[in-house]
Amino acid sequence: MTQTTALAPVAQADSLVKTYGSGENTVAALRGVSASFARGQFTAIMGPSGSGKSTFLHCLAGLDTVTSGSVVIDGVDITRLSRTRLTRLRGEKLGFVFQAFNLLPMLTAEENIRLTARMAGRRADREWFRALVDALGLRDRLGHRPAELSGGQQQRVAVARALLTRPEVVFADEPTGNLDSSAGAEVLRFLRGAVDTYGQTVVMVTHDPLAASYADRVLFLADGRIVYELAGPTIDGVHDVMRRMEA
């Protein structure tokens, strides 16, 4: 993989505005956010509660509608797509890991992992499936239902599901929010590994400086705007920026 393609943006947001309500009750969640995400890059998005970081991720992933502005994923402006085409694009090019509620309780771990590919009507690459399952340590757990798995295992199943279709971008919304530190670290190590080994692009919202330190760069949001960008973050570096933002 050459340097130029690695840095070409695979996802790009341009002047994103998202407001809720109308008239006097209008609340602006995003006030013109522009950012681009290069292929093979791990980006963390941070900010205090209510800064709009989750809304930004949802809009970027086509889960929520935008009030104005555009989101381009792999050369397609997703704000102009019909629902069906947007869903198809989500299924084919994007992967998701959420904080919670992200597995279907009636399916086994294996069925959950294969779900996205099945819905897109594709057969998953068997080698790739095996590689993922082994890397995530889920081999013995494939036949279990989510209720029989620990929180960390559930989240690893979700990560495997997100990666199985080899998406252009994986969006993760507080993936470690519900996990203890060691389970969280496992998930983060794996995401980091996916970026390094397979050139996976990852965009992750978090409020945890430790989680953010796994990323290549951190975008800080406040009041619906990007206020700071930190490349090559460390735990201390992230803490510094956060202290300055609060001041």
């Binding site: 069906t84 959420f98 279907l104």
Partner: protein, 859 residues
């Protein structure tokens, strides 16, 4: 998708049990009604065995109604020189006398559905006779008869048993000497046959020597029936000569028509079941989709296309439909049995029909069940597909504020669709030639259908009513229960759809019960009232037996027996027959000849001592007829006008003497004639009741009629009661269907309510975590339930009162009045509250008991 649908179903099936039962029941009702209808058809038209099977040509008297193939014409035919016509191989005389056979246990034998029993001559000539002796021998003496196999099996009779025949003018003791089949069947198309010696039947029919009511003719070998008919026409003039095969074909065509019309009635009732099933499934799936919002949104977020989600919901509905329909088919056999029994009690005995296992009886209800569930899941599926993926990420699923306009437009569209039924009501109501029950029934059916459609419209609008009502109940709750009342109010107004979908099922149930209750009480009260007002007799002798055409007739000599009892000042027999109005022709606007008009004629010597009729009717002389007021207008039968009617003895000209009113509709609903006139119309007219005036004791009267097995002595109130009850008997099937629909809607309500509680286990857990006691949680659920009851009862009672009011206006019948007795209202409210409590409080008790942590984890 199939996998998810299957697993979702496997996971949620317990919660869907009630829905499944509801579908099962409605499919059961559907398949049961279909089986019943097919069986009835088989019973009615399946026995198309004709006694004319070996006959080539029939000679019948002049004036024989070519449309009425079952009554053996009661005119007279003289065989004359028929036997010497070339080509005639054999001739036999035929006659038929209406008869009721008393079975071994003293009860009259009911002929098969829609048919009658006749006494006819045994035909000894093997070339003509289709009667095949299966046991015993042919009747040889005047007190010997052979019976068809159906009579033998239904009446517990066999060769050698003695029985009683109730003839129009007498009762006769006879001995059964043989049992016959016709073409292998136990009865013929026209019903049951009692075969006596030709001489005995000739006498019973009151025929003059040398005449018969009809002649059976066999053609000689090599002569076709058509040729023989053409040869006989000039010889037998003025009698009518017909090919026997034509008569047979007409008979089977007629029977098929009758079977189809029975199927139509049952089908209509079954459609109520289908509608309720549709309603219930739609409601349950709506709730299910709302409950699964988060899961469906997650699917959408990870790439499930709207089409796939729609398919998911439909697949699940398919599984439900298939499982429930399969069960419903089994339930159908039970339903069909119940229907058979209900109808048999009304004298409509179809047990002669075989139980249907043909593919129509299986495939059609099954398909209907599956299609019903699919239709019902259509809207929830669309709603599921519209769920935004962002819903998966919200921590609590707040109910989206439904847009007002689409809901209003949808409801208006449904109300508009109800005019599909209400529209024709005007046409029927304004049709001048439809009178009495022929006018009331179609109007009632149309209005009830329209009302059902309106119920769905109201269900769509229900969420709008929840806000204000919830506010009201909530305020009351705050006064009584304090903080939990406040919480209840908040939960009610926050999710109006949850409350309204539970209330919608309740509304349907309440509307069904209240409308039926209103109709029953109103009809019952009015009929009893009018009956008591009209009847002036001191005693009534009436029949306690039943046939398919109503009460079994009394023998004609009942009146003379009664009149001899000391203290009887007058004993008046009511005889009944039906005639066709030949002239004047009914006015039909568009040129079609109108349907033939039949008049129900009552023969009575003098009504004044025993009945109080309205209007001005002079004493009727022979050749005069009194006409009930509504018919005067409908058919232009003004006093003084000469009319022609076609009775059992052919055409008779009568003069309209006056008009009268029988407010009870029990004694002479349409027309009155003197006994002498009745003899011209139908000498075999059956006696339906004998009205007695005088100081005679009931026990003396009872003794006088002791050897007439079906005769009972009633006091006036008692007679009115049984007369009204027999009038209402036809309604029993309708009550049965409404009752079953009610059960279906209750299942629907159980699903909706318990789903809505399960939906909130997490919420209850949260409330528990912040210190709400179990008692308070239950109180919240109770207040919510109170809102459901209030809304459901208000809408349901309003619908039923509106429907009955509409019926009252459209039919103009004094029998249908809007009068809501307080006890009915109390029963409805009490029942609704009990049902709501049972379906919500019990699951709530369990939900409230779930430990806080577990509840928090629940999806």
């Amino acid at each position: 998708m199939w996998l998810i649908a299957r697993r979702s179903f496997a996971q949620d099936w317990a919660r869907l049990t009630a829905t499944m039962l509801a579908v099962l029941f409605s499919v059961g009702l559907m398949s049961g009604s279909l089986q019943f209808a097919l069986r009835a058809e088989a019973a009615v038209s399946g026995s198309d065995a004709s006694e004319y099977a070996r006959v080539d040509v029939l000679v019948q008297p002049r004036g024989t109604d070519p449309d009425d193939v079952f009554s053996v014409p009661q005119g007279e035919v003289r065989p004359g020189a028929i036997a010497s016509v070339p080509g005639v191989a054999a001739v036999a005389g035929d006659a038929a006398v209406p008869v009721t056979v008393v079975g071994a246990r003293g009860k009259p034998v009911t002929p098969p559905a829609g048919a009658a029993t006749a006494l006819r001559p045994w035909i000894p000539d093997a070339r003509l006779s289709a009667y095949h002796l299966v046991s015993g021998r042919a009747p040889a003496a005047d007190d010997e008869v052979a019976v068809v196999r159906h009579v033998a099996s239904a009446g517990g009779l066999h060769a050698g048993s003695a029985t009683t025949l109730l003839l129009p003018n007498s009762t006769q003791r006879v001995r059964v000497v043989g049992v016959v089949t016709v073409r292998g069947r136990g009865a013929v198309a026209s019903g049951d046959l009692i075969l006596g010696t030709p001489a005995a039947v000739h006498r019973a029919a009151g025929l003059r020597a040398g005449t018969w009511q009809g002649l059976w003719v066999k053609a000689a070998p090599g002569v076709t029936a058509a040729t023989l008919r053409d040869r006989l026409v000039p010889v037998m003039r003025p009698a009518v000569v017909r090919k026997a095969s034509d008569v047979r074909h007409r008979q089977s065509a007629e029977l098929q028509g009758a079977g189809a019309s029975i199927g139509g009635v049952i089908g209509m009732l079954a459609s109520v079941a289908v509608f309720t099933g549709l309603f219930v499934v739609a409601n349950a799936f709506g709730t299910l989709v709302r409950q699964r919002t988060r899961r469906l949104a997650l699917l959408s977020a990870i790439g499930a296309r709207p089409r796939q989600i729609r398919r998911l919901v439909r697949l699940e509905a398919l599984v439900l439909g298939v499982v429930a329909s399969a069960g419903g088919l089994l339930a159908g056999y039970g339903v069909s049995d119940v229907l058979t029994r209900l109808f048999a009690q009304d004298g409509f005995d179809i047990s002669a029909g075989e139980v249907q296992v043909g593919w129509v009886a299986l495939v059609f209800p099954f398909a209907a069940g599956v299609v019903t569930t699919q239709l019902a899941a259509w809207r929830p599926a669309r709603r599921a597909a519209r769920i935004a993926p962002i819903e998966a990420l919200r921590s609590s699923t707040a109910e989206a504020r439904g847009r007002i306009w689409p809901r209003l437009v949808g409801a208006l569209a449904i109300f508009g669709a109800s005019w599909m039924f209400f529209g024709p009501v005007f046409a029927v109501a304004n049709d001048p030639t439809s009178v009495g029950i022929d006018r009331t029934i179609p109007i009632a059916v149309l209005i009830l259908m329209g009302a059902m459609v309106c119920v769905s419209g109201l269900a769509v609008l229900a969420p709008f009513f929840v806000g204000p009502l919830g506010g009201l109940v909530g305020r009351l709750g705050m006064l009584i229960s304090g903080e939990s009342g406040r919480l209840a109010r908040a939960t009610i107004t926050r999710s109006p759809r949850r409350v309204s979908s539970a209330a919608a099922s309740l509304m349907l149930g309440v509307a069904l019960v209240a409308a039926t209750g209103l109709l029953i009480t109103s009809i019952h009260q009015r009929a009893n009232e009018a009956g008591r007002e009209t009847l002036a007799a001191d005693h009534v002798i009436a029949s306690s037996g039943r046939t398919s055409n109503g009460a079994a007739p009394l023998p004609g000599d009942t009146t003379s027996r009664v009149a001899r009892v000391p203290g009887v000042t007058s004993a008046v027999a009511l005889t009944r027959t039906e005639v066709q109005l030949v002239s004047p022709k009914t006015k039909v606007s568009d040129g079609d000849p109108g349907d033939p008009v039949f008049l129900d004629v009552t023969g009575v010597s003098d009504v004044r001592p025993v009945l109080r009729f309205g209007g001005h009717l002079p004493a009727l002389r022979p050749g005069e007829i009194g006409v009930a007021s509504p018919l005067v207008k409908a058919y232009g039968l003004r006093p003084g006008r000469r009319i022609v009617v076609h009775g059992a003895r052919g055409n008779v000209t009568l003069t309209v003497a006056g008009r009268y009113r029988d407010p009870s509709h029990l004694f002479a609903d349409q027309a009155l004639v003197a006994p002498a006139t009745m003899a011209m119309l139908d000498p075999g007219a059956s006696t339906s009741a004998v009205l007695v005036r005088g100081t005679a004791f009931a026990r003396d009267l009872t003794a006088a009629v002791a050897d007439v097995p079906v005769a009972r002595v009633y006091d006036p109130a008692g007679y009115v009661r049984i007369a009204v009850a027999s009038m209402e008997k036809g309604l029993r099937v309708i009550y049965g269907f409404i009752g079953m629909s009610l059960v279906i809607s209750l299942f629907g309500m159980a699903t909706t309510m318990s789903l809505s509680v399960f939906e909130r286990i997490r919420e209850f857990g949260m409330l528990g975590a912040v210190g709400t006691t179990v008692r308070q949680i239950r109180s919240i659920v109770r207040w919510e339930a109170a809102t459901v009851v209030l809304l459901g009862v208000l809408l349901g009672v309003a619908t039923s009162v509106g429907t009955v009011a509409l019926l009252h206006v459209a039919t103009g019948s004094s029998y249908i009045r809007v009068h809501l007795p307080w006890w009915l209202l109390a029963v409805v409210v009490g029942g609704a509250a009990a049902v709501t409590w049972a379906t919500s409080a019990l699951p709530a008790r369990r939900a409230a008991g779930v430990p806080v942590l577990e509840a928090a984890k629940a999806e």
